[in-house]
């Protein structure tokens, strides 16, 4: 944790309410998100118990598995999830932008224009926490390879027809959630914790109820007490007042309420009493609905809180990457490509790591550019400085054929950048990307004189507006403001001997 966020937490302890960690919203929020609150069956890997889902805040849809050990019931459940979710996921595939780019034919070297489709919008799934992301990933893993009755060789336990397709989509969105800055599948606790600092630890922030208790404590109450109630408060039956946001249920709920209900359901089924079985299943629905509905409302409350912040300037750009990702997956499904493999081959793994690293650098940079609180982290760390321009002296580089503008800009700052004369800095928030070199440093007075090196046009005099003026507020970083390009990698079929050769 950085000193700045530590300070924010300290301030939250004193004030009894969470303190802002961002002045803008750093994640995209869809106009029509699809919320899922999934629960897992305890002890069974990736086995669903229930989910509350939908786009309509007032009318969520509840799906349950009355006996989680029953594989048929599990797949019936996943088929129903697919019925709800797939139409939503697929609904973004039709509305596209057409983008042109010129490409060079590798054989002939001729330039041709390529037209590509980019979906105008993409789906956004919201789950309460990273556990929800992981569970969706497990659903994807357990279903995308399933054979269905439509397969030539359906096997002994064919899954319902659209279940493998759901598995591929869930795999895609949960993979995408690992890409820094993406918003296609948002875990709410992490997203909220990016924007607010509570008076508790980050471990405790993983509890959605406690986190919300700090961000918006009840009227006249303090976050600490509200969070304690959310974590630990129990009713006279020994049940939590604020049910956990999943995917695990409270063990006391399991033992006191759910287990007996499942036992009754099993008995009714064993007696082959269809009406009673149905009634018992509805009892289970009622139990699970009662612990899911509070979380459902918490998720929407969290989204409301996030919407109070204006979006950061680069959020739309990053959402475009999500749209590309969505479009690509849509195309792979349409092209009949096989489901995502269990393990990446060497080249794919390296490509995906490179993508994630690039996106991490990008989101860090963009957040700093969009949000003075994020930039403050770099300023405090000596990696950036901001202040007022106190003097501008025109100067020129006359070494070339025609003189080029290299004006000297003196900035007064209270920051203490780790920058020595000769070192490079990059102007943040300027009209264009602009590099500068520190010429002179007066640490006592907080005065830095920088020579601007580019971004001023091709003429002898700088283009208007490209050089800051005295009195103007400026900010420079010691790091470059664009992520570096990743190096090219071989095609998988050209995997070298050092990495085991081409995949078999």
């Amino acid at each position: 944790m950085s000193l700045l966020s530590t300070l924010a937490r300290l301030q939250a302890v004193r004030s009894g309410v969470a303190q802002p960690l961002a002045t803008v919203r750093h994640r995209h929020l869809s106009e029509r998100p699809f919320v899922l609150v999934p629960l897992a069956a305890a002890g069974e890997t990736g086995a669903p118990l229930a989910v509350l889902l939908g786009q309509d805040r007032q009318h969520p849809r509840l799906l349950t598995v009355p006996q989680p050990l029953d594989r048929d019931l599990r797949f019936a459940f996943l088929a129903r999830v697919g019925d709800e979710l797939l139409p939503y996921l697929e609904s973004f595939g039709g509305d596209v932008e057409l983008l042109e780019r010129s490409v060079k034919d590798p054989e002939s070297g001729e330039k041709t224009v390529e037209v590509r489709e980019l979906c105008a919008d993409a789906p956004q799934l919201v789950v309460p926490n990273p556990g929800g992301v992981e569970l969706l990933g497990l659903f994807g893993r357990s279903t995308r390879f399933r054979r269905t009755a439509e397969d030539p060789d359906p096997g002994p336990y064919p899954a319902p027809a659209r279940v493998p397709l759901l598995g591929r989509w869930l795999t895609h969105v949960s993979d995408r959630a690992n890409v820094p800055g993406s918003s296609m599948l948002l875990p709410l606790t992490t997203t909220l914790a990016r924007h607010w600092a509570t008076g508790q630890s980050s471990l405790e922030d993983a509890h959605l109820g406690a986190l919300l208790a700090w961000i918006s404590p009840p009227e006249g109450g303090r976050g600490e007490e509200a969070a304690l109630r959310a974590e630990n408060g129990r009713d006279e039956r020994g049940q939590l007042l604020v049910p956990p946001a999943g995917p695990a249920t409270d063990p006391d709920f399991d033992s006191l309420l759910l287990a007996p209900a499942i036992t009754r359901y099993d008995a009714a089924r064993a007696a082959q009493d269809e009406r009673l079985t149905q009634a018992r299943a509805e009892e289970i629905d009622a139990l699970l609905g009662a612990v899911l509905l509070p979380v459902w409302h918490q998720v929407w409350q969290g989204l409301d809180l996030l919407r109070t912040l204006p979006p950061g300037a680069h959020v739309a750009d990053r959402w475009e990457s999500d749209r590309w990702s969505y479009t690509g997956h849509r195309d792979r499904v349409a092209a009949g490509e096989p489901p995502q493999p269990l393990h990446d081959d060497a080249v794919t793994a390296a490509r995906r790591l490179a993508q994630r690293e690039r996106e991490q650098v990008r989101v860090d940079l963009e957040e700093a550019l969009d949000d003075p609180l994020a930039m403050a982290e770099h300023r405090l760390a000596g990696q950036a400085f901001a202040g007022e321009v106190v003097e501008v002296q025109p100067a020129y580089d006359t070494s070339g054929r025609s003189p080029k503008p290299r004006p000297l800009v003196t900035v007064r700052t209270e920051d203490r950048p780790h920058l020595d004369p000769g070192g490079e800095a990059h102007r943040a928030g300027g009209p264009a990307s602009q590099k500068a070199q520190l010429v002179e440093l007066d640490a006592e007075a907080g005065l830095l004189t920088l020579r601007l090196l580019n971004g001023m046009g091709r003429k002898k005099e700088p283009e208007p507006g490209t050089v800051p003026e005295p009195g103007e507020q400026v900010c420079f970083t010691l790091f470059e403001l664009a992520p570096r390009q990743s190096a090219p990698l071989p095609d998988p079929e050209d995997t070298p001997w050092t990495h085991g050769g081409p995949p078999k």
Binding site: D344, D345, A349, A350, A354, E357, A487, P488, P490
Partner: protein, 461 residues
């Protein structure tokens, strides 16, 4: 920063005992390595080299032998300064050798490399590809487009190279010699890499780990003798950091001697007196531990920084002479380094030294001191004054780098109480199935080193 050739004067005395001398051990290892690189049945040869074991000497020698076969050689290093250093060494060793220095447009080669007439620099591989040797960073090699592969490559500091970087450059060569120190800092990623943990080709792990996993026939060679570390340091560093691949010092106790001028400041401050005292201990024994009273502090603990600066200043003021198998030479500022864990600590030490009028001493973080060598090092202990340890501070490679840069003596400056801090540290390290454990454990190594250093303790009162 030159390492003696494996048959250094100190060990050339013929011996009749069956136990090989360090020089003989090292020569045998190098001969086997060169044979494997040239004619071995495997396309890859791996050499593990502990600190100061003559890795650079090996690289230069291997390069010359590979070139002598008439084949073209490419050399991959990890940083621009490593590349410049290698180019310089190659040209020193063989002024007639034409060496290509491939570089990026924003990273001009250093003057050290370019002072040799045989060295040609270019940003385009096409200008250099017919030269017998071309040297560049992995980052630059990755961008070299389709070309006839080189017959041989040498990959230097291979343990600091990531698997994905090797994946991007491996198409450029047919056979390769990988040389590196497994005990130094691992490569890392700024994002989570659990998705690939335990898989042979995890792109975030070291290139050597991937190579060995895919080529089980490759048995790593080992350079068994450290020519840098003195007899007082090699056993500790070997035990604490290379528990399964031990090495020895190339010199015997008494072969190296650090002679200091008398402590002139009888009237000095307590700190100066303690600094003098710890310098005497270190000159005598090779180690010194200057211990400040226990206190929780911020990273740039002003007292600890002042103590580091005082030790350096007193060392320079007293004037030292380093006697070794290479002869005798004064311990000037350029033979002294200060190592820290964090950049802001290094900056604070630089400031403190400047205030004392000391210039020319290298002050840097462990990351940047990798591969460097000095007569005397002064280390600000990574855990000094901290209320808790973190994975960063416990990383084995960090302490290993800091404790293995010296030829004569290493002085560690710290707050008291680190063993207790370590005792209270949670041992909840995650374990990934299928991932080969990297040894040793950082927590254990920290304890082991401190336990040893306690014997050379000088408290600041």
């Amino acid at each position: 920063m030159t390492t003696p050739s494996p048959s250094s004067p100190a060990t050339s005395t013929p011996t009749s005992t069956p136990t090989p001398t360090p020089g003989e051990q090292a020569d045998a290892a190098v001969a086997a390595i060169l044979a494997a690189a040239l004619h071995g049945g495997e396309r890859g040869t791996v050499v593990d080299s502990p600190p100061g074991a003559g890795k650079s000497t090996l690289v230069v020698r291997a390069a010359r032998e590979l070139v002598a076969t008439g084949e073209r050689l490419m050399i991959v290093a990890q940083t621009n300064s490593q590349v410049d250093d290698l180019v310089d060494r190659l040209a020193e060793a063989d002024p007639a050798l034409a060496v290509g220095r491939l570089h990026g447009s924003d990273a001009l080669p250093s003057e050290i490399a370019m002072r040799h007439p045989g060295v040609v620099a270019s940003t385009k591989v096409g200008d250099l590809r017919e030269l017998p040797v071309v040297v560049s960073t992995a980052a630059k090699w990755q961008w070299v487009k389709e070309t006839d592969p080189w017959r041989h490559a040498i990959v230097d500091e291979a343990y600091q190279m990531r698997s994905d970087a090797l994946l991007a450059v491996a198409r450029l060569f047919e056979r390769a010699l990988f040389v590196g120190d497994p005990g130094q800092l691992d490569p890392f990623s700024i994002v989570g890499t659990d998705d690939w943990a335990g898989q042979h080709h995890d792109p975030s792990q070291s290139a050597v780990v991937t190579l060995l996993a895919h080529n089980p026939g490759i048995v790593p060679h080992r350079l068994p003798v450290s020519w840098r570390l003195p007899a007082s340091a090699a056993p500790l560093v070997s035990d604490a950091f290379y528990p399964f691949t031990p090495f020895r010092a190339g010199t015997e106790p008494g072969d190296r001697r650090l002679e200091l001028g008398p402590p002139t400041t009888a009237s000095g401050t307590t700190l100066e007196q303690a600094a003098d005292e710890v310098l005497d201990v270190a000159a005598e024994s090779g180690w010194g531990l200057l211990e400040l009273p226990a206190r929780l502090t911020v990273r740039t603990d002003p007292e600890a920084v002042a103590a580091v600066a005082a030790v350096v200043a007193r060392l320079l003021a007293r004037g030292g002479t380093a006697h070794s198998e290479r002869g005798s030479a004064p311990v000037d500022a350029d033979r002294i380094a200060v190592g820290t864990a964090h950049r802001d600590q290094a900056a604070a030490v630089r400031g403190a030294l400047a205030a004392l009028g000391v210039t020319g001493v290298t002050v840097d973080t462990a990351n940047r001191l990798q591969g460097r060598e000095y007569d005397v090092t002064v280390v600000l202990h990574p855990l000094s004054g901290r209320p808790d340890a973190t994975a960063f501070h416990l990383e084995t490679g960090r302490l290993c780098v800091l404790a293995s840069r010296h030829r004569h003596a290493c002085i560690v400056v710290t707050r008291a109480g680190i063993p207790e801090l370590l005792d209270a540290h949670p041992s909840t390290e995650p374990v990934q199935l299928g991932v080969v454990s990297k040894f040793p454990d950082g927590w254990e190594a920290n304890h082991a080193v401190l336990e040893h250093l306690r014997r050379f303790r000088v408290p600041v009162r």
